[in-house]
Symmetry: C2
Subunit: 113 residues, 2 copies
Amino acid sequence: MANLDQVFHSLSDGTRRAVIAQLASGPANIGDLARRHRMALPSFMKHIRVLEESEIIVSRKRGRVRTCELRAAALTAAQDWLAQERRVWETRLDQLDAFIETLALKETTHGEE
Amino acid sequence: MANLDQVFHSLSDGTRRAVIAQLASGPANIGDLARRHRMALPSFMKHIRVLEESEIIVSRKRGRVRTCELRAAALTAAQDWLAQERRVWETRLDQLDAFIETLALKETTHGEE
DNA sequence: GTGTTAGTTAGCCATATGGCTAACTTAGAT
DNA sequence: ATCTAAGTTAGCCATATGGCTAACTAACAC
């Protein structure tokens, strides 16, 4: 299962996010991907490996070309974590709102006494 | 504005994610936060600084205690990026489905000829 | 078979990361 | 005025990161 540390680490680099964006519109092989990022192949390969270890992409080699493909599951894990935290955060703010509302109400009541 | 590199980097560490989770249910001061993570204060402070530089939290000091609070905007930026990529990804899969559907239809038609 | 092409491996380098201790600075408490 | 508590700063250390070049391997093209 995708490890959040690795997934978020993968996402923390612009080159890797660009690769993800490209793969979202369909599989591609490493050469094509690398050409768009002015970077030596071995450097680029490190990014591919990071993405692969975090299970954001999978790749397989046929002949001498390796093609990469996006796996959505890891990204889903990241989204889920964020969504959950947002839920907690928003619930709290709602309760805070409600609390302030009751305070305001009381003051009005007092004011009318 | 929150920088995605920094935001995702912040999220790539379990300690920092735990801090975010705690702050989602309300502000807290650094001492309280640190106590839950068996870690020397200066080490913990580095995490706080990372979170602050990525604008995920803000903090201010009153007297000698510093209290931290979550800022949702940075997390929203991360969520938005993920959502956008998912949109591209899913659109493509839908089109792929549709394409396969038409293929299947054609075959059926041919079969009936 | 000789080249050429697509990846890969090995290894170098500078900087960043994530932990620590020790020593310092204030702010409150007595 | 002292003592204590909450942060902070400085600096050490091992490892990770993100880039590079050079040299190697394995396919495909002629």
